[in-house]
């Protein structure tokens, strides 16, 4: 109990008090029902019962807050008391986390409602769910560039405040194809924010042919207008940091200058897989370098340090015609929705999670480090007992040598110096780096039966099975666009049977039509599904009305991008090549 419990759930400090393996996430949704949970935590969960009057509630809530502040550094007494009946969740640490001591929070969009409001009306629920939804349709009549992508829907639901997930989508303008990615930050959102802004530029530059790079460089050199590289598709809430853009640009320019210099003259075809790997590694390298070099501007100096000391996973898809590449670093996931001939849906995973559940990753880590570290390198399913994803951007604590870390922190600004987390060196830290941003790239050739791709952070995959995800999205999309009309042709159907069938279909449709966005629809299911796999409004309402401090215990940030493919175009490509 001597060590402060301050880390977020992702980079959780070792909890010596807990003898049992820590549960991965605070999502009792599937594993335990809410009433059971309420046994364990009398005060906060009573918040969910509307019978209590407002005044009583504020009293209870006040008590909870009191606990929160008073027991900064030790687990609340009632958890200890109930430990026999309920395993406290590591995520619970969030609840007692002293916010003022953490990174400076930028004021993000906050949805946690006041504790007095326990049941949200359906419109309120919808406004929460839809606040971040975004849809992009590839223009239909762009004759010269027939895209295999119809469009995409994306959305995110925060659990952290502010949300640590990020998403990006852009069309490459100098090469063909579209880039889509989800980024799950930990220990703050600085790294995921930076990666979401920068990674696609690195990828786009890696994909550019030599001549185009030269053209761009010449343009910069002579102060001419630059060729646009990316067309972003952003939700208004997806922001880019203005202050750092100059810095970021310079790093990017250095990258392409090196690419130009490295060019051997032969215009070899650019390999997308290689380009993706290079871009990931280069960006991570730049993040690390920027933090080591620092910046004369104190704000920027602090920013680059925050970026480097926080971390982010990335799962990026590059779609060009029938060529689909998925580059993944960490535990977000890309899932392909395939419609079988009988109309049913099956899921094809296009990425491997880089975490303790992945044997090959465990193997890799053990090989990369001396034998004597075999036991300490992964402990309690976490890297060095701390970090859940085994690959990530940033997180220099797991990459730099101890000397470098100390030097940077000492020379860094006071905020950094005062921060316990950054100062804290992981245990058994002998042979850094322990962490890499190198992605695993999967290639898939699209087929007409591949209807959509779901990119989502682990917040989704923890709550829903991939098969369910694909089925729900598949049914949603067909319900919206291509619902198979019923045809009687030849079958013996009675009026009664038809009536039953139609009534059922209508019931299904009415829930589908609540959402205009596949990602929103998926989040609705992820958060609101009851044990029967149907959206339960009461549950949805409870989950969404959790106070900010509690939300992270029940769910993680969820970010989803659903990319819909144009089967006709994909089919045409196929025929063309045959």
């Amino acid at each position: 109990m001597e060590r402060p419990r301050r880390a977020g759930p992702r980079s959780c400090s070792p909890s010596p008090g807990a003898g049992m393996p820590p549960r991965r996430q605070g999502i009792p949704v599937r594993t335990s029902s809410l009433p059971l949970f309420s046994d364990a935590m009398p005060a906060p969960t009573q918040l969910f019962f509307p019978l209590i009057r407002n005044c009583e509630l504020s009293r209870i809530y006040g008590t909870a807050c009191y606990c929160h502040h008073k027991h900064l550094c030790c687990s609340p007494p009632y958890i200890a008391q109930n430990r026999l009946r309920y395993t406290p969740h590591p995520a619970y640490a969030t609840f007692c986390r002293p916010r003022e001591n953490w990174w400076q929070y930028t004021q993000g969009r906050r949805y946690a409602s006041t504790p007095q409001k326990f049941y949200l009306t359906p419109p309120q629920v919808n406004s929460i769910l839809k606040a971040n939804e975004y849809s992009f349709k590839v223009p239909e009549f762009d004759g010269k560039n027939v895209s295999s992508i119809l469009g995409f829907d994306s959305n995110q639901l925060p659990a952290n405040a502010p949300i640590e997930d990020r998403r990006s989508a852009a069309t490459c303008l100098q090469t063909r194809g579209m880039l889509l990615g989800v980024f799950d930050g930990h220990a703050g959102c600085a790294c995921s924010q930076a990666v979401s802004e920068r990674l696609f530029y690195y990828i786009a530059v890696s994909l550019l042919p030599h001549e185009t790079l030269l053209e761009i460089e010449n343009a910069v050199e002579s102060g001419r207008a630059l060729l646009p590289i990316l067309q972003w598709h952003k939700h208004p809430n997806d922001y880019f940091s203005k202050e750092a853009s100059k810095l970021y640009f310079n790093s990017l320019r250095t990258y392409w200058q090196e690419l130009i210099d490295l060019n051997t003259g032969e215009s070899a075809d650019i390999d997308v897989k290689e380009a993706l790997i290079n871009a990931f590694k280069r960006l991570d390298n730049d993040i690390s370098l920027e933090a080591q070099v620092g910046d004369p501007n104190s704000f920027l100096n602090y920013l680059v340090l925050r970026v480097a000391f926080s971390g982010a996973t990335a799962c990026v898809a590059h779609v060009d015609g029938v060529d689909l590449h998925v580059a993944n670093t960490g535990d977000s996931r890309a899932m392909l929705g395939v419609q079988e001939e009988d109309g049913s849906w099956s899921a094809v995973t296009l990425s491997n999670d880089h975490n303790a559940q992945n044997e090959r990753e465990l193997e890799r880590l053990k090989l990369e480090h001396p034998k004597n570290e075999a036991k300490s390198v992964v402990k309690q399913d976490r890297l060095l007992g701390l970090l859940m994803p085994f690959r990530a951007f940033g997180d220099v604590k797991f990459k730099w040598s101890i000397d470098l870390q100390k030097r940077v922190i000492e020379s860094g600004p006071d905020q950094l110096n005062d921060n316990e987390y950054t100062k804290f060196i992981p245990p058994n830290y002998h042979t850094p780096p322990y962490l890499t941003a190198e992605p695993e790239v999967t290639y898939h050739r699209l087929r007409p039966q591949d209807k959509f791709l779901v990119l989502a952070t682990d917040g989704l995959w923890e709550t829903m099975h991939r098969q369910d995800v694909v089925r729900i999205v598949g049914e949603y999309l067909t319900g919206m666009h291509q619902q198979q009309p019923i045809a009687v042709g030849g079958y013996k159907v009675t009026l009664g049977q038809m009536h039953g069938l139609l009534t059922e279909r209508r019931a299904k449709m009415s829930s589908v039509f609540e959402d205009q966005n596949a990602a929103t629809h998926l989040i609705r299911h992820a958060v609101g599904n009851n044990e029967f796999g149907a959206v339960d409004h009461e549950r949805l309402s409870k989950m969404l009305s959790l106070p900010e401090e509690l939300a992270r215990m029940y769910r993680d940030d969820i970010t989803i991008i659903v990319v819909q493919f144009n089967s006709h175009v994909v089919g045409a490509y196929q025929n063309q090549e045959q």
């Binding site: 619902q483 009309p485 019923i486 045809a487 009687v488 013996k492 159907v493 009675t494 009026l495 009664g496 038809m498 009536h499 069938l501 139609l502 009534t503 279909r505 209508r506 449709m509």
Partner: protein, 878 residues
């Protein structure tokens, strides 16, 4: 030709009807190769081989016209006609449609005998169900109208319904109407039989021939361009069904035929184990939105859903035709309704869900008649899914129209000329038919206003009036105020004024009427059609004297009420004409006359470049100042004496009102009340309105609407064209003798007919009926179309009605006939005949006693404006 036709018939008979519907639709059968060449010329070319085209051909040939060509782009009877549900129902809301359906029924029933072609005609009868009391009232109204024209029908109890139809669930019914002579028939076979009979009479029929466009010269049809060559012709008949709109637009001078198709679904089942008897009556469950008929031992059931699917908005679209497929999800509400009505059908096996687009029009009435822009271009289309029921009668009326120049019945409400180009927008049509199609089975209550396609034409005062609580109705696209809701009234409740009884605006209109009687009201009447006729010499006067029955050679500044008559002396228009100066006239006609009157004038006025006819409707805003204090308001605003000595009634003068000059002030109000009409150039409209309202304040001025106007004009026995007057009524039949100057020295159109009528006497007479034992609060209100009984015998129908706040009674206008006791023939109606009768008005089966009047009673009731009255009310210090 006949042989070829019959072979088609035979081939179709052997094919199992609906089961090959999809193949029929895409049929490219080339059994008969087309070596046949079209004739170079014909008198009439009919486009469309559906039930309407064949019916027109059949009737034209029956009337002795020989030189007729019928062109069909696909095969005969292969469009909507083929997929029609085959129900012939005479239970219709409008009496003209009722007559057409009745005629169709009689025609189809003997067609098999006449032509030898089986039509599948079967007199099954029909039962219209009522789930609510309001629906039952609606049925009772139809029932009493059916009875008086000799179509047997009765209102029956749910128990009786169960006896007539064994499968029906009747527990939620309050009653029903049984029409035993309604029938089912195969519409495709009817069309083929009609075609065959026409062919025998010499009509030449060509299928697989498309009309590309119609050739015209100087506004007259000269020929038809087809994909197989040209045909010269005098008359063209557009019976192209849902393609009629496109065909009309394809003309060099577009003919606007406002109609739009919606998908329509019906269900066919396999036979029941114990097949339904072939004479099982057809069921119409309007509250459940469905119809059900017996079909080959199983059932055929369709309906008019609340959420129609409009189709072919962008014209004929091959993709949409191919995509016409069963949409079960869309049909689900109707299927639920069907199973609720006939629960035993659950186990019945589905054969097919048929999707056959039907055509709808902006006012749910079909379109027939001659184009206002191209002479000889006739149209019969837009049947609102009643093509089979109306087809026979509609074909007959159109044939009469072409042969005799007039149909034998008044068909104004179906006349193409009730629409103009303004109803021709695709967006408007698409939106409007989405409202019209559900309306098929909605309850039809009095004073219905369409909700879609509104605010198209508005007066410049629209926003001003709307802000003051105006509630609007629409006529010919123009928004007109119905009444003004006072600020303290509950608005929501007012919108729900759909009732057959006393409506909730009763008190509001009462106060408006009272204000018209006692003080002064202003009504925006800008929608009225306004024409100006000017000439360099006397041409204007001469042509108007020929066109109008009254003497227009009056001193400058006088206004003349006059009819515009046809050869038979019937009213083509009833208007007021002001002589602005020696050589120019200002003509005011009803709103919906804009197209018809224009076409009529153009047809009969000499083509003379020195004679100018101009439509100035849009140039003037019209304000009607009604009431005894109107004179005070105007004289204060114009500093001109407005007393009757200086400004006699029916007088017109250009003067200044407020700052605005050039306002045409006319001393008439269209109601018989004292007051003035102001015709204001639109840029002055707001100014004049503001001035009138502010000056009028001390005289108690307020806004009023058309409901008040209506009450005022009906109690004064002012007949309105389009409601009380039509092309079959002459001035002599409606007390308009004073508006006819037979001896004005000019042989005006219709003079001969009037002279003869004057000699022989009239066969019907417009009278005013004051309901005696009618309780305004509790009894059903009269609307129009109620049968009139004289001495217990049917004598005619009402044409309009209103509550008179002065008489505190309901007043109906209606025609009284004198049907002979022996053979039902019409006999002369004299004033004495009217006066000596005991009258009753039948409202939904309940007869109310009524007093008939030939002259307005108002003179006995309304007090003349007296000097001391004015003084007294001034004392109240308004």
């Amino acid at each position: 030709m006949l042989y070829r036709l019959l072979s088609i018939v035979q081939r179709q008979r052997t094919s199992p009807g609906w089961q090959t519907w999809s193949s029929a639709r895409n049929s490219t059968s080339v059994a008969e190769s087309h070596s046949i060449t079209l004739p170079a010329q014909a008198q009439v070319v009919i486009c469309g081989g559906g039930i309407l085209g064949t019916s027109v051909a059949y009737h034209l040939s029956k009337m002795g016209w020989q030189d007729i060509v019928l062109l069909e782009q696909g095969r005969l009877a292969a469009g909507s006609t083929r997929f029609c549900a085959g129900i012939l129902s005479t239970a219709r809301h409008s009496s003209i449609e009722q007559k057409m359906a009745d005629y169709s029924n009689k025609l189809y029933s003997q067609l098999e005998q006449e032509t030898g072609i089986q039509t599948g005609y079967l007199r099954t009868g029909s039962i219209s169900l009522a789930q609510t009391q309001d629906r039952l009232i609606s049925l009772k109204r139809i029932n009493s109208r059916l009875n008086v024209v000799g179509i047997p029908s009765e209102i029956i109890s749910p128990k009786k319904v169960a006896e007539l139809h064994p499968l029906l669930n009747v527990h939620d019914l309050v009653g029903a109407m049984h029409v035993p002579e309604d029938a089912v028939v195969s519409s495709a076979d009817v069309a083929l039989a009609l075609a065959s009979a026409a062919s025998q009479n010499g009509v030449q029929i060509y299928d697989k021939t498309s009309v590309l466009h119609v050739l015209t010269k100087k506004g007259q049809v000269t020929g038809v361009e087809t994909d197989k060559g040209q045909i010269e012709c005098q008359y063209f008949v557009n019976c192209a069904g849902q393609w009629a709109y496109e065909l009309g637009l394809s003309n060099e001078e577009p003919v606007s035929i406002p109609l739009h198709a919606c998908e329509h679904f019906y269900l066919l089942t396999r036979p029941r184990e114990t097949p339904l008897q072939s004479n099982t009556p057809t069921i119409v469950d309007a509250d459940g939105r469905i119809y059900i008929r017996n079909w080959q031992g199983g059932i055929l059931s369709g309906g008019f859903e609340k959420n129609p699917k409009p189709i072919f908005t962008e014209g004929k679209n091959q993709l949409e035709i191919q995509n016409l497929r069963e949409d079960w999800d869309h049909f689900e509400p109707l299927l639920s309704s069907l199973l609720r009505r006939m629960p035993v059908l659950e186990t019945l096996e589905i054969l097919k869900l048929v999707n056959c687009p039907e055509t709808f029009t902006p006012d749910m009435k079909c379109i027939m008649g001659e184009s206002p822009v191209v002479q000889g271009y006739f149209v019969l289309a837009g049947m609102n899914s009643a093509g089979l029921s109306l087809g026979g009668g509609a074909g007959k009326f159109l044939a009469e129209w072409m042969v005799y120049g007039y149909p034998t019945e008044n068909v104004w409400e179906l006349d193409l000329q009730r629409f103009g180009a303004l109803q021709s927008s695709r967006t408007f049509l698409r939106h409007r038919v989405m409202e019209v199609m559900p309306l098929m089975y909605d309850l039809k209550v009095p004073r219905w206003d369409f909700q879609t396609g509104r605010q198209l034409r508005t007066s410049p005062l629209y926003d001003r009036l709307d802000a003051q609580g105006a509630r609007w109705m629409e006529k010919h696209g123009f928004e007109r105020p119905k009444y003004f809701v006072p600020p303290n009234k509950d608005l929501l409740a007012l919108e729900q004024s759909k009732t057959f009884y006393k409506p909730d605006w009763f008190d509001i209109v009462e106060s408006e009427v009272k204000c018209c009687k006692e003080a002064v009201c202003v009504i925006d009447m800008s929608s009225f059609t306004k024409f100006e006729i000017t000439s360099t010499g006397d041409q204007a006067l001469e042509s108007l004297q020929y066109l109008f029955s009254n003497d227009l050679d009056v001193p400058v500044g006088h206004i003349v009420h006059t009819g515009m008559l046809n050869e038979c002396g019937g009213y083509e228009n009833d208007c007021s004409i002001a002589r602005l100066n020696k050589r120019s006239f200002f003509m005011i006609s009803p709103t919906d006359q804009q197209v018809h009157c224009w076409a009529w004038l153009n047809k009969y006025m000499p083509k003379d470049s020195n004679l100018l006819l101009e439509d100035v409707t849009w140039k003037y805003t019209a304000l009607n100042l009604i009431g005894p204090r109107a004179v005070d308001v105007l004289s204060e605003l114009s500093y001109a004496p407005m007393t009757p000595d200086h400004f006699p009634t029916l007088f017109c003068k250009e003067m200044s009102v407020g700052y605005a000059n050039g306002i045409r002030v006319m001393s008439m109000t269209h109601t018989g009340e004292p007051g003035f009409m102001l015709y204001i150039p639109i840029e002055y409209a707001l100014h004049v309105y503001n001035e009138v309202m502010s000056v009028g304040q001390k005289y108690g001025i307020r806004n009023a609407g058309y409901y008040a106007l209506r009450s005022l004009r009906i109690e004064k026995f002012f007949a309105f064209w389009g409601q009380d007057l039509n092309t079959l009524t002459t001035p002599l039949e409606c007390g308009g003798e004073s508006r006819v100057k037979l001896e004005k020295g000019i042989d005006f159109i219709g003079r001969d007919a009037l002279l003869q009528q004057k000699q022989n006497g009239v066969y019907k007479r417009l009278a005013m009926f004051i309901l005696d034992d009618h309780d305004t609060d509790l009894d059903l209100w009269p609307w129009w179309g109620e049968p009139i009984y004289r001495n217990g015998k049917y004598a005619g129908k009402t044409t309009s009605s209103a509550y008179s706040y002065t008489l505190e009674r309901h007043v109906c206008l209606g025609y009284v006939h004198n049907f002979s006791e022996d053979n039902g023939e019409e006999q002369v109606v004299t004033a004495d005949f009217i006066n000596r009768g005991e009258y009753e008005i039948d409202i939904a089966g309940h007869r109310f006693q009524a007093k008939a009047k030939l002259y307005p009673v108002t003179s006995f009731f309304t007090h003349k404006r007296r000097k001391d009255d004015v003084e007294l009310s001034d004392f109240h210090g308004k």
